[in-house]
């Protein structure tokens, strides 16, 4: 088992909350090795899980470029040293490791460094049973900067027409840019179940599940509590059934 799941959607629909709840669920299975990647420059997943950032992928990238420019690194050993530094950059919590991507790349062409980084991340991901990526809205950017391979696009939307439209757009962009992956829609902050049926019938996206409006989520968000300590409340129960439906 080695699955990479990207949690995508319009800004503000609850991607980070859902990614954080998925991390909480990974911690429930101590025989599973999980990796959480915060691909949002705002580092929302770090805040939502209270997992500190040791060093971002972009910090690492800048250090490597500086090393190359100062001639303190042998280009042939670069791939191996990235491997070392990536491991040093991981924050570990039980069976869950966490890596933050950081702010976007600066101008300039560092193709070799970027390629090595992508390969090193891909290699790292291949060691984990599940990788959860809290993505930026634009899947093209996610694909280019973080990973070559994504197995499942979890498209998160609230019930708004705009949120659903963005989910479909990401699905289409993903179809062009990412090979062999499945997609599933997760509806968030659902107040009434009948709304789910209405949307399911009107949208050409497979529904993976839905998460009800839950006051605990607001409480955790507003008070900056770690979702890794989220109680056995409706949002977590719904997330658990979504997690169970993820393709094996």
């Amino acid at each position: 088992m080695n699955k990479a799941i990207a949690v995508c959607g319009k800004g503000g629909v609850g991607k980070t909350t859902i990614a954080a709840l998925m991390c909480k669920l990974l911690l429930e299975h101590n025989n599973i090795k999980g990796l959480a990647i915060d691909a949002d420059p705002g580092a929302g997943l770090s805040q939502a899980t209270s997992l500190p950032i040791k060093k971002t992928v972009n910090d690492l990238r800048e250090e490597i470029i500086a090393c190359s420019q100062e001639r303190t690194a042998d280009p042939s050993n670069l791939a191996a040293s990235i491997d070392y530094q990536l491991m040093e950059s991981l924050t570990e919590h039980q069976n869950l490791a966490f890596l933050a991507v950081g702010r976007p790349e600066e101008d300039g062409c560092y193709c070799q460094v970027n390629t090595f980084l992508r390969e090193a991340i891909q290699m790292l991901v291949s060691h984990f049973d599940y990788t959860i990526i809290d993505a930026e809205a634009g899947i093209e950017q996610l694909n280019r900067r973080v990973m070559e391979r994504i197995d499942f696009l979890m498209l998160v939307s609230d019930l708004s027409a705009k949120g659903l439209h963005v989910a479909k757009t990401i699905r289409d962009v993903g179809a062009k840019n990412i090979k062999d992956h499945a997609v599933g829609l997760v509806l968030n902050r659902v107040k009434e179940e009948k709304e789910v049926s209405r949307i399911e019938q009107s949208i050409d996206l497979p529904l993976l599940g839905w998460i009800p409006e839950d006051q605990n989520v607001n409480d955790f968000d507003c008070n900056a509590k770690s979702f890794l300590h989220f109680p056995e409340a409706p949002a977590l129960q719904a997330s658990r059934s979504i997690f169970a439906r993820l393709p094996e």
Partner: protein, 238 residues
Amino acid sequence: MGLFTEPLQKLNFYRENARKRGLLLEYMYDPAAAWPQSRSLVLQEDTAVELGGEKGSLFMVLWTKELDMLCRDSISIVGPKLMDIVPAKMPFAQIILVGGEFEDEYNTYRDIMDVIFDTRLEGVSTRLWPDRQRIWCRLSNEAVEEGFDLFRYGSALLQNFKSHSWIQSAEVIFVTTAEDLEALLPEAAKVQNILEAMQKMYEEMIFDCETCDYREVCEEVESLQEIRQKLLKERGQA
């Protein structure tokens, strides 16, 4: 004289000194003892012992055509062997000496590094930063329970080296005490300097000694001057 003749002499002296101090454990390579190989990632939670990393580490590779400069096909451990280790984290040095017949120093280094990178042990995460001479190993609880130790680690490395026809023998030295690791640092810096000078020659087209950072080491190590002459000739600049 080879590239590393002087550092190898110093390492021989160091090994002999450790033997006299009663700190040296010596084993002959045993293919049956080689630890099984497969890629592993060991997370903190599953880690029984962490070698190197924050506790201090050193990684060094040297090669020679003079086979009597190394203890052929042996594994030496200076300091506590893994099974004796009480703390979960400890300093770690891995020194690899390779003897064989080769033409080109640069490709020899690449070949040796390929063998080291390709040695992936079951239940062991090894990360290398060769340019900084750093190494970091995590040994899983399961690997330690099943009898992993540095002799078996060394045997796996030697097994992989022996699959290359140009390599006639190799030696692995592990160091697990902070004092001994510290004592090796000056020699390690010298080795790194020679390596960097050699790589610079192969990777650059211009040999301007006046502005080169490695002028001093090139003047000191005869083999570097020979490489320079050879490359100048090959590139028609002699």
